[in-house]
């Protein structure tokens, strides 16, 4: 197992490099003037200096390999240009917005994996029974409901009418506490910081604001995981070794947990990488609707305002994120199915 992980880790930089090369290739479709904005992290530089001088300074007319090497070094230094839509450098925007998105994504991932897998297998076990039908309806609805529709409906119903789950990250009182000197910000992830500060009022308020966006964000992925798990479980439950296990007199609980679910998880884990991508795509709409100032909302504004450095930075981030997500999936895959690491 360890050898497999090391082997995968060794391949990782090559994949990340490939991702960077792809983003760099996209950049080459732009004019040198447009590319300049990706290099300058100080907006004044773009406004008060002759563009030709800047193009010369950043070597944008140099051979392509040299341009790539220079840009690669810029990335390593964290210099990704100035984001107009965020009014700060791209690296600063990531620092500001990342915790917000991370919080949403983390809270979404937990119920997503647990709920999706658990409900999927439950649905398969209760095949063609009322619970299975309910789960299938839920999955189909969740799968076919666009995120923005679910978000707006949720907001209208649960805030507009019932007043339960308001948009934004925090209420006024909790917001004042978070801004005050008594509340230390360790991670920027409010729920986590609230726990570390032992401030349960802020935690509860943040959670109240998270419930609806988390539900909306994870709905599509949840539905997908549920359906895949269910189908896989059904397939597995029909296998001979499961029949054998039952014939041996094992308890149904043991048959499902130890024999069926583990094997059924293989295709589920395979699509987990895609699920991460879904989650981050969903952030764009969810954060916009629920007034969360995170990466997704920033990306949406960047797209609307043609903020190239922000878009390229986001593209790079997403690419690297998916590479890492797939690495984790591969490791989990190997853990579940020994044939993978031995092959």
């Amino acid at each position: 197992m360890l050898t497999y992980i090391i082997r995968r880790l060794l391949v990782l930089p090559i994949v990340v490099l490939g991702c960077i090369v792809l983003v760099f290739s996209v950049m080459q479709l732009l004019t040198p003037y447009q590319r300049l904005s990706v290099y300058c992290s100080n907006p004044a530089e773009l406004k008060n200096v002759d563009f030709e001088i800047l193009i010369e300074r950043y070597g944008l007319n140099d051979p392509i390999y040299k341009q790539f090497a220079d840009w690669f070094m810029e990335i390593l230094r964290g210099e990704l240009g100035w984001s107009e839509s965020a009014s700060r450098p791209v690296s600063g925007a990531f620092k500001r917005f990342m915790p917000v998105s991370a919080e949403l994504a983390l809270w979404s991932a937990l119920p997503l994996v647990l709920g999706g897998v658990w409900l999927g297998s439950l649905s398969a076990v209760k095949h063609n029974k009322p619970l299975d039908h309910i789960m299938r309806i839920f999955a189909i609805t969740g799968w076919s409901l666009p995120t923005f529709v679910a978000g707006l409906l949720g907001l209208f119903l649960f805030y507009g009418i019932l007043g339960w789950f308001p948009p934004g990250q925090l209420g006024l009182e909790a917001s004042a506490i978070v801004r005050s000197s008594v509340f230390a910000s360790y991670t920027g992830i409010i729920t986590l910081d609230a726990v570390l500060n032992w401030n349960w009022f802020v935690f509860a308020d943040a959670l109240r604001h998270l419930i609806l966006p988390v539900f909306v964000l994870s709905l599509v992925s949840w539905a997908m995981l549920l359906r895949v798990t269910r189908a896989s479980m059904l397939e597995t439950l029909r296998q001979d070794y499961v029949t054998t296990a039952r014939a041996k007199g094992l308890e149904e609980r043991v048959v499902i947990k130890k024999h069926a679910r583990r094997n059924a998880l293989i295709p589920v884990v395979t699509i987990a990488g895609v699920t991460v991508a879904f989650l981050f795509n969903g952030l764009v709409i969810t954060e916009t609707i629920f007034d969360f100032h995170g990466l997704g909302r920033w990306a949406a504004r960047a797209a609307q305002t043609f903020d190239l450095p922000a878009l390229l930075g986001y593209l790079l981030f997403n690419g690297v994120l998916i590479v890492f997500a797939n690495l984790i999936v591969d490791i989990m895959y190997a853990y579940i199915d020994p044939r993978v690491r031995l092959g």
């Binding site: 447009q34 009014s87 700060r88 009418i161 917001s175 609307q304």
Partner: protein, 634 residues
């Protein structure tokens, strides 16, 4: 589909307001939701209303305009725009000729003397002194950023001889600074010479008063000091120096001249920090997200009633509507087309037909567009995929666009229940004595005339080649988006080779694009700095004007040749009839030259929760003055 959503939204909104009851939400906090983004916190740099709105609440001037009230219970429009009614703030007395603090000298010069209030504390701990006042104005004049507000001081203080600091420098030193480009290279001796020339403009008397000396009479001078959008706001000298600002020495100031070339507000040392004497302290500014103010309990008057003010930037109208409907926001920015969704709803007060003193919006054509690094002009040549730099240099092209705008449709469909009216030329209709209301001075929507003009433009070449360019609007501003889309639709309908793209950008980027002369046509608004037509003719039709100065070299040269002499002539006389005749002439020329797109104006309105009381009103105020606001049912 969109309509179904809209109906659903309004339905839920109504339900939410009904379900709400009458309980006042967050009684100690004002939540305002809007979309305007702040450009800078430096009062000498700021020249936009969103930034000015922050300064209005955090910093204070020597004098201030009196206010009326528009709130849940009353509309009291007894504000005044008369100089004699100004209120003392950081000065203890408003200077007048009668009290001897305004003195007219035989040589034509005038002095304004301000006794400075004692015992006034700054938020960061300093105490207000006459030196702070003197430093504030000298810093502003010596900083004089491109496109900034400081022309309003240099013009009157120099006896209307100069408008910009570089002109003073050139006159004092007898050098060419290339419009200020070489000022940062001045030697310490040269800087001291320039400082000596302006030092007499603002001085401290032996008794500790601050005196402004104008080389010639300039009646609106006091009203310039009264405007609360930044440039009259008093700073703490020591604190500014601590922030890395000008050290107050005569021979060092050039290093702080025109920060960021006037195009990068971040370059000013006060870009994101504030320290004033006002009723509210800046708690924090998270650009594009929120601004939070906390009450200043050491305020020299009674502290404000409301403890915290949260100004949230929310671009999505559906979010704004729901927050406002639930009562979680007290004051909401509502574009005119959305007014029907909030009018008449329980708990919400909408006050219409309030007076305005501005030209907002107006469209500005840019001659000699800056092509460098400009993605708005396509190929940058006269072809179907782009436009050349001189696209709008041709008056026929400008007239084609003027005839292609649906003025009445805009009033009916966009301004809607708020209502609006047509205007023309740089003098607002509010100045009735200076406004020539002849029908022939108005462009009307006429696609045939637009086509005729288009066929004449650029010797007829553009009709064959076609063109493509991008029209920007500041994101969140639906009115400006619609203006761009109306032009897009009508211009594209004339010829399949004509293409206009419409795109939103953040406010700060919009301003940057404007001052770098990259936008072929920009739409922006002007609210009065002081109540006089001069304050409109200069920004709209003077070669150094705030907007006209960014309309490219060809139009700027035209302004310098034809409009500047008239602008000065109108200020050289105090006889209203003579001034009016000159302004009539400017208005006729504005029609003929068609350098701007004179767009319909919206009537003023306010939307707030019914528990909001004490909402100060004066058309010269840049925004909400939170000091007088409180929450109660009366």
């Amino acid at each position: 589909m969109k309509k179904i959503w809209l109906v659903g939204l309004v339905f839920v909104f109504v339900l939410s307001t009904l379900a709400l009851g009458q309980e006042i939400h967050n009684p100690d906090t004002i939540v305002r939701i809007e979309y305007g983004t702040v450009n800078t916190l430096d009062p000498a740099y700021s020249y936009d209303t969103a930034s000015g709105a922050v300064m209005f609440n955090v910093m204070e001037n020597l004098v201030m305009w009196p206010m009326g009230t528009v709130d849940g219970d009353e509309t009291d429009l007894s504000y005044s725009l008369a100089t004699g009614d100004l209120l003392p703030m950081l000065a203890t007395v408003v200077p007048t000729v009668d009290n001897g603090l305004i003195v007219n000298y035989p040589d034509g010069s005038v002095t304004y003397q301000f006794p400075i209030r004692t015992g006034v504390e700054f938020h960061a701990g300093g105490t207000l002194t006459p030196e702070d006042v003197e430093y504030t104005f000298e810093r502003a004049i010596l900083q004089d950023r491109d496109g900034g507000p400081i022309w309003m001081y240099i013009e009157p203080l120099s006896g209307q001889e100069y408008w910009r600091l570089y002109q003073v420098v050139e006159a004092v030193l007898g050098i060419d600074t290339n419009k200020g480009e070489t000022i940062k290279d001045l030697t310490p001796e040269q800087q001291a010479q320039v400082y000596a020339a302006i030092a007499s403009w603002v001085e401290i008397t032996p008794t500790g008063d601050v005196v402004f000396t104008l080389d010639a009479s300039y009646p609106p001078f006091l009203t310039i000091l009264a405007h609360a959008a930044g440039w009259g706001a008093i700073l703490d000298k020591e604190w500014v120096i601590e922030q890395g600002g000008w050290d107050g020495e005569a021979d060092t100031w050039a290093a702080w001249y025109n920060p960021g070339g006037g195009q990068a507000a971040e370059e000013s040392e006060l870009y994101d920090v504030m320290n004033g004497t006002g009723p509210y302290m800046l708690d924090h500014w998270d650009p594009g997200i929120e601004i939070v103010y906390e009450r200043f309990d050491g305020y020299w008057r009674e502290p404000a009633a409301i403890k915290t003010v949260v100004d949230k930037k929310i671009q999505e109208w559906s979010d704004r509507l729901l927050l406002f409907g639930r009562g979680d926001a007290d004051i909401c920015s509502v574009d005119p087309q959305y007014l029907p969704q909030v009018m008449g709803q329980p708990g919400i007060v909408t006050t219409l037909n309030l007076p305005t003193l501005g030209l907002n919006p107006a469209g500005f054509f840019t001659s000699d567009i800056n092509l460098e690094g400009n993605d708005l002009v396509g190929s940058g040549t006269l072809a179907e995929d782009g436009i050349p730099s001189e696209f709008f240099n041709d008056v026929h092209m400008r007239k084609a666009f003027a005839y292609a705008f649906e003025y009445q449709t805009y009033i009916d469909d966009v301004l809607g229940v708020a209502g609006g009216y047509r205007t023309h030329g740089p003098v607002p209709k509010a100045f009735g004595w200076a406004y020539d209301d002849r029908p022939e001075l108005y462009y009307t929507f006429d696609i045939e005339k637009a086509t005729e003009e288009m066929k004449l433009a650029h010797g007829g070449e553009v009709w064959d080649t076609g063109f493509t360019f991008t029209l920007l609007y500041n994101e969140g501003n639906q009115g400006r988006r619609v203006i761009a889309e109306i032009l897009e639709k009508n211009i594209e309908s004339m010829n399949p080779k004509f293409h206009i793209d419409v795109r939103g950008v953040p406010w700060a980027s919009y301003l940057d694009r404007m001052v770098t002369e990259q936008m072929p046509l920009f739409v922006i608004g002007w609210l009065a700095d002081f109540p006089d037509p001069h304050n409109f003719v200069v920004p709209f039709a003077h070669s150094t004007g705030t907007f006209s100065g960014w309309q490219g070299s060809t139009l700027v040269a035209m302004f310098a040749e034809k409009y500047d002499p008239l602008t000065s002539a109108a200020m050289a006389t105090a006889v209203q009839a003579e001034r009016a005749a000159i302004y009539y002439q400017i208005e006729q020329m504005s029609y003929d030259d068609c350098y701007d797109l004179w767009l319909p104006q919206v009537n003023g309105y306010r939307v707030m929760r019914d528990w909001v009381q004490g909402y100060a009103f004066n058309p010269l105020f840049p925004d909400v003055y939170y000091y007088s606001v409180y929450k109660a049912y009366e």
